[in-house]
């Protein structure tokens, strides 16, 4: 079935309906609309451009395959974010352990207060956060989602999403301080990748 008119101005639900009825070219509008956001999310979540590229492509492919199941209970944007987050988690699990934290000691630019703060270092540190904390931080800061939306995406309550977000920030501060020699991590200080809060 061919589209009956230009889809660029149509809203997401209308385009999804067209694709569900067989107009697969209409899906290109959804790709164009959310491709950059998915790529940016994947880049922040994985910390690697090639992986972000793979995650973006796979996410849209999976979205197309599962579009028959899309009921519009959440927005397409939230739905595609959820798919992308799943892909990021899978990529992250495969890559886990590739970069020990102690290797992130490249010469950073020193910010005020004596803390090393470099874009590359920060990206790597964020990539080392547990899944839920990384997702909460990224979706909140970069995508400006509400904690309720974040909770729905990561399978947690709104309160848990909020605590994960603040916990992520607390960890980043701790790691940066430790890397700068300001404070040594306590015995209870977390290593990377030990999961998020899941009450």
């Amino acid at each position: 079935m061919q589209s009956e008119g230009p889809a660029e101005s149509a809203d997401d639900d209308e385009i999804v309906g067209r694709v569900q009825q067989g107009d697969r070219q209409a899906f290109a509008v959804l790709v164009a609309r959310y491709q950059r956001m998915v790529f940016a999310l994947a880049l922040r979540m994985t910390g690697d451009r090639n992986e972000a590229e793979d995650v973006t492509q796979t996410s849209f492919m999976n979205a197309f395959r599962r579009l028959a199941d899309f009921r519009g209970e959440a927005s397409f944007k939230t739905w595609i974010y959820g798919i992308a987050l799943n892909e990021c988690r899978m990529v992250h699990r495969r890559a886990r352990g590739d970069l020990p934290l102690d290797q992130i000691s490249e010469p950073p630019a020193y910010a005020g207060g004596g803390h090393p703060l470099d874009r590359v270092v920060l990206r790597k540190l964020v990539a080392r956060l547990p899944d839920k904390q990384r997702a909460a931080l990224t979706l909140r800061v970069c995508e400006d989602l509400s904690f309720r939306e974040i909770g729905a995406l990561i399978g947690a309550s709104e309160a848990s999403a909020k605590v994960n977000y603040f916990h992520a920030l607390k960890r980043l501060r701790g790691w940066l301080a430790a890397a700068a020699g300001v404070k040594q991590p306590s015995p209870g200080e977390p290593g990377p990748d030990r999961g998020g809060i899941d009450p």
Binding site: R119, A159, E189
Partner: protein, 245 residues
């Protein structure tokens, strides 16, 4: 650190959360007992509301926090590829989608075939019955027939059955020669057969000695090897045994 009791409680909850997340992969896995219970949903809710209200615990005024957030917000925008990259990726995605079945088609197809999801079984190659018979049943039947024939030959030889006669003069000469050789080679070797002609099969008569084990090391003593017999020989053997029984 703040002396506010709520902030102390919040710090303690964060510490327990650290313990929980670390414990999942270390302490609990090692079977150690947990000193404190895991953080409950009600405590998470309390912590969330405290973080909303407390600038100290939320790190709202922390300079590092601000820099982290600012760098995260501005970071990806500067690292995103250009429009040409995204146009190329869009083409790649749409080309891949062109090869996909329409959304829902896969589900409908599976539903029509009575299966909710694709399985390995659906891809299995099914062979026609005749080919399966030719591939498995006939060799099995032939093997079984050979086994029965071999067992019946052994039983008959143990019961002192009439030996099969050599069929040609040259074979008679060969058997005679073997008899002479066996008489020398097997003499006194096996006490169990000491009362029988040397090398003879136990329980076989004197005339049965041509069925005995040879001194050929490739042929196990006491058995007639059927490996070298052709199908015609086996048929003749079977007919002869049927006639005698």
């Amino acid at each position: 650190m703040s002396r506010n009791p709520d902030c102390v409680r919040a710090a303690a909850l964060f510490a327990r959360l650290e313990h929980d997340t670390a414990g999942r992969s270390t302490t609990v896995a090692a079977g150690a007992t947990r000193a404190e219970p895991p953080v409950a949903e009600a405590e998470i809710a309390w912590l969330a509301s405290h973080l909303d209200a407390c600038p100290h615990c939320s790190g709202e005024g922390d300079a590092t926090n601000r820099q982290i957030l600012e760098m995260l917000r501005s970071g990806a925008a500067g690292e995103l590829p250009d429009d040409a990259f995204f146009a190329g990726q869009r083409r790649t995605i749409m080309n891949a989608i062109a090869a996909e079945p329409a959304p829902g088609a896969r589900k409908q197809g599976l539903a029509a075939s009575g299966s909710g999801r694709p399985t390995i079984r659906s891809a299995r190659v099914v062979r026609p019955p005749a080919r399966r018979l030719a591939r498995y049943a006939l060799p099995l039947a032939a093997g079984f027939a050979l086994l029965v024939l071999s067992l019946s030959l052994r039983d008959r030889s143990r019961e002192g059955a009439t030996p099969l006669e050599p069929s040609s003069p040259s074979e008679v000469a060969r058997v005679d020669a073997r008899k002479g050789a066996d008489a020398g080679v097997g003499a006194g070797v096996n006490d169990a057969t000491a009362t029988s002609p040397p090398g003879a099969l136990e329980g076989a008569g004197e005339d049965d000695s041509w069925l005995v084990a040879t001194s050929d090391p490739l042929e196990p003593a006491g058995e007639l090897s059927l490996d070298n017999l052709s199908d015609d020989d086996l048929d003749e053997l079977a007919i002869a045994l049927d006639a005698q029984s």
